[in-house]
Symmetry: C2
Subunit: 278 residues, 2 copies
């Protein structure tokens, strides 16, 4: 989504080129190295409509046996880095009762954030994708634990409530355990609503082609989130096996891929032939 | 302790040379690179007595204002790697209720192991020095969490009880959350008792020199653990500020360092002049 974000003006081109991976390699240098750093301007052109086809990356279509998901919009997400700082100490000699071990705060924080998401079912989500212990030595109480937190909900007000509760929870459990907590917001993706006329056309094309369809909300971010800032945008979902994604087990049936492409083609043709689009 | 472990025959020389750091560099290659790979045999010589002086690495002497710790032995320790395997899933689209998120098992396991150690106060210890999430992506439920566990107690039977309870706790919480648990024992250090005659001499020397002294158990492993396998061994502790160790804040007062060296010198002289030692 970095490229579409630059085109939409959400990110500066230099910001994009400066992004680093875990090994410190920058996006710009690596594009140059592999010969993909072109000279076309990274700016919006005039689009009558943008429709993005994608696997659902979730289990709903697959479990229901529905072929086409007509995506109404994308749920909002917050990313945070939560740093819990205590005091490192040798594992053997330091009595338990005088330690300031950040694990004491981390476990109720993780359990509590799960609770915050589950209280907002079925769309509330909480994910802890990464965690690091510093210094990370087996025989040393960590001075710091750094936890990534991903919180999502399609409704803006509900999402804000969840984040407020998370901040309270972290502050409370850090204080109760003599731990210093620092919460850094890394990213915010506001809920996005797609274009009503395009949603209607995707529904119509799926119907005309005889595919089963249902409305759905995207739980993940997509390029369409950025393109919706400068052009009418919609998405088409197809099922993926058990909703598994970002994983080598990811799988979509050829028939479903074909159905998705079919709906995409017919929706785009209909829009291109529609006087109002031009 | 790797070198003393080889001398004691606990480790093979090739095992020692083959140890790698986090970057995959081996101990043997690095010794060669810095010019420290000598050719003297790594085997026990004949020792009448071995006395190791060390900071306590714990807070007891410092908080009491006692100068000399006469170390009776070293508490036992187990090291484990606990791998909790669930299923990775995209953070947005995957409903909370169908996830198999290893965090669900990890939080009660960490809290429970703290409980196991604290129920064996004041010497029971539990430390989680490192943790890794795999694949470790911010927007993905981790497939695996790998947690290091360090459990210590100076009494063998109590230590075994703690480990048994830990295995039960892990199995129970993994099963309850649909998570697969694998516990790998990485290291075991049995409790070590030091030589009675040397302990007596250290006590006597501290007393003759007018330093305050108390008996103490070492919570950390030391070279003396290995040397005690082939020679009469004891240790002398001095205070360190707030018990902080393995940390840039580690500090010992010059007067205490001097006192420890003084007791070491006089104990060694007394033993060297003692007919029984020769």
């Amino acid at each position: 989504m970095l490229g579409s974000g630059v085109v939409a003006g959400t990110y500066d081109l230099d910001f994009a080129y400066g992004r680093t991976d875990k090994d410190g390699l920058t996006f710009g240098d690596e594009l140059r190295r592999i010969g993909y750093l072109g000279d076309a301007p990274a700016a919006p052109r005039q689009f009558a409509a943008i429709i993005e086809a994608h696997i659902e990356q979730g289990p709903i279509l697959d479990s229901e046996g529905t072929t086409i998901g007509v995506v109404k919009g994308i749920q909002g997400a917050y990313w945070f880095d939560v740093t819990l700082t205590g005091a490192s100490a040798h594992a053997g000699p330091t009595p338990m009762e005088i330690r300031r071990d950040p694990w004491r705060a981390l476990t109720p924080i993780v359990a509590g954030i799960f609770g915050i998401a589950q209280a907002r079912g079925p769309w509330g989500r909480a994910t802890f994708g990464d965690v690091k212990a510093l210094p990370g030595a087996r025989n040393t109480v960590p001075e710091k634990l750094v936890l990534t937190v991903d919180i999502r909900h399609p409704d803006t007000a509900t999402l804000e409530d969840m984040v407020r509760e998370m901040h309270d929870l972290i502050a409370r459990n850090a204080a109760a355990n003599g731990i210093e907590a620092h919460v850094e917001q890394v990213w915010y993706m506001p809920p996005t609503a797609f274009d009503a006329r395009l949603i209607e056309q995707v529904t119509k094309s799926a119907d005309e082609l005889g595919y089963s369809a249902r409305e759905i909300v995207s739980g993940a971010g997509h390029d369409s989130l950025h393109t919706a800032q400068f052009a009418p945008t919609a998405m088409i979902f197809i099922p993926c096996a058990s909703g598994i994604s970002h994983n080598e087990l990811e799988w979509a049936e050829p028939d479903d891929l074909s159905a998705g492409a079919d709906v995409l083609l017919h929706a785009v043709l209909a829009l291109a032939n529609d006087q109002e689009t031009a």
